[in-house]
Amino acid sequence: MPAGSSFVRIRLTRPPMTAAEVLTRDQVDRAIARIAHEIAEKHPETSSLVVIGMQSGGVWIAERLAGHLARIAEAPLTGSIDVSMYRDDISMRPVTPVAPSRIPVDLAGRTVVLVDDVLYTGRTVRAALAALNDHGRPGAVRLAVMVDRGHRELPIRPDFVGKNIPTHLDDEVSVGPEGVIVARPGADV
């Protein structure tokens, strides 16, 4: 599971940070279950939904959301999308694609639930919306995120949120199946 490794990576590369667990493993599980119920409530035809995780952090959440939806109602289609080729900051920082996009169906007319771990500036979501369009023009796109940490730079708003967490600009937010951690440089959170 790729998200599991993100804890390790952040801790290794940013040692002088103070970290605090803001969601436990249990709370993450319950948040995913709750979002699944909210999705099913708003979109009862769950079998026609396409739940798409954003590479890399959104993929495991999308898979678990789809699992819940299958138990609650009917299994949606699932996929993943890599937005590296659509980013607006190519050449401003290294952009390394993780894995190719996997879109199971022409999205034309479909309702897509786009899933990511953390919503921050909104730029990745913008890139994802552009990327989705190259797989057909969806009827609607909904956005589900585990953590909304604020500091939006674009007019983008999530439809389903695991938890709103106020953060500083230089905080590091890591989301994994084991929980959510906020690390802050040199201070207690």
Binding site: I90, S91, V95, T96, P100, H135
Partner: protein
């Protein structure tokens, strides 16, 4: 490394990174609208001092699918014929605004010199007998994806057959395949085999039939007719009889061996049968992968500003 001049620029992690990005590009190329905005606003100039429709089209398609602008310069339509030097050409195009030059020249080493005349990235699209690094990358990519070996060629048995001496494809492939762990056998008559190419993982023979049953990849090189005319090869069909791929030899290959060729093929010289009859032929896969790999190279050079992992 902001240039791709030679396979010597490609260490194993860099190759793996390029192959991973090429997978993305293959996914994009399979779409109904195979185009992404990644290199919007960048300019890729293909500067071909030697004709090559295939390679030029492959590079320009790659650039366009990444939304880069393309500039096209070929010697036959340019002022090089009027004595303008390569340097003048590069400096002029640079002044117009170029982010990457894709350079082909009949003389070995020209892309190396071009790096001294521009701040843009330079991709070698084939220079003399020297190097053709994107061909090596697309060939290695094709083998790994066809054989399912991940990003490595560890232990893969490859035979490269034909005019090795005059082939930039051979020089690039031998170097890259060996670095990725392949066991490479060079099959050629003595006059087409320069001294000093054997090394770790590389063996040399002139007995093609002995090699065929054991190889997983049979890589046929192009033999130019001019070589025959220049008296380099024996009279009549002797070269084809000893080193050409015919139906008898095709049957000697193991069932899952694949056959590759950089194109364009010389029917009746190295290819003495209809390649369409070859179940193992991956020649068109090479062409398709060529676009993906060149997209990956351009994306890494222009997107990340460096080739390396």
């Amino acid at each position: 490394m902001k240039h791709l001049l030679s396979t010597h620029d490609l260490d194993v992690p860099t190759v793996a990174a390029i192959m991973n990005v090429a997978d993305h590009m293959s996914e994009i190329n399979a779409r109904s609208v195979p185009k992404v905005p990644a290199l919007l606003g960048r300019t890729v100039a293909s500067v071909f001092f030697e004709d090559s429709t295939r390679t030029r089209v492959s590079f320009e398609t790659a650039a366009k699918r990444l939304s880069a602008d393309t500039m096209s310069f070929s010697a036959s339509t340019s002022s090089v014929n009027k004595g303008e030097s390569i340097r003048d050409t590069i400096e002029t195009l640079s002044a117009i605004g170029v982010d990457a030059f894709v350079v082909r020249h009949a003389s070995s080493g020209v892309p190396v010199s071009v790096t001294e005349w521009t701040d843009a990235s330079v991709v070698n699209a084939g220079d003399g007998w020297h190097q053709h690094p994107t061909q090596a990358l697309l060939d290695a990519y094709t083998i790994t994806r066809e054989l399912g070996t991940g990003n490595t060629l560890a232990g893969v048995r490859v035979a490269i057959v034909g005019d090795i001496k005059h082939s930039r494809v051979a020089r690039s492939n031998i170097d890259l395949f060996a670095r990725l762990g392949a066991r490479v056998t060079l099959v050629a008559p003595g006059m087409l085999l320069p001294a000093g190419l054997a090394g770790p993982g590389i063996t040399v023979t002139d007995a093609l039939d002995d090699v065929l049953p054991d190889v997983e990849v049979l890589y046929m090189l192009r033999v130019q007719r001019e070589r025959m005319d220049a008296g380099l090869l024996p009279v009549g069909g002797e070269y084809s009889a000893r080193f050409g791929l015919d139906e008898r030899r095709a049957r000697m290959l193991s069932g899952d061996a694949i056959v590759m060729h950089p194109g364009p093929m010389n029917r009746g010289i190295e290819m003495v049968m209809d390649p369409a009859e070859l179940p193992g032929s991956r020649i068109l896969a090479q062409v398709r992968n060529g676009v993906s790999v060149r997209m990956a190279v351009l994306f890494r050079l222009l997107g990340d500003g460096q080739l390396g992992a």
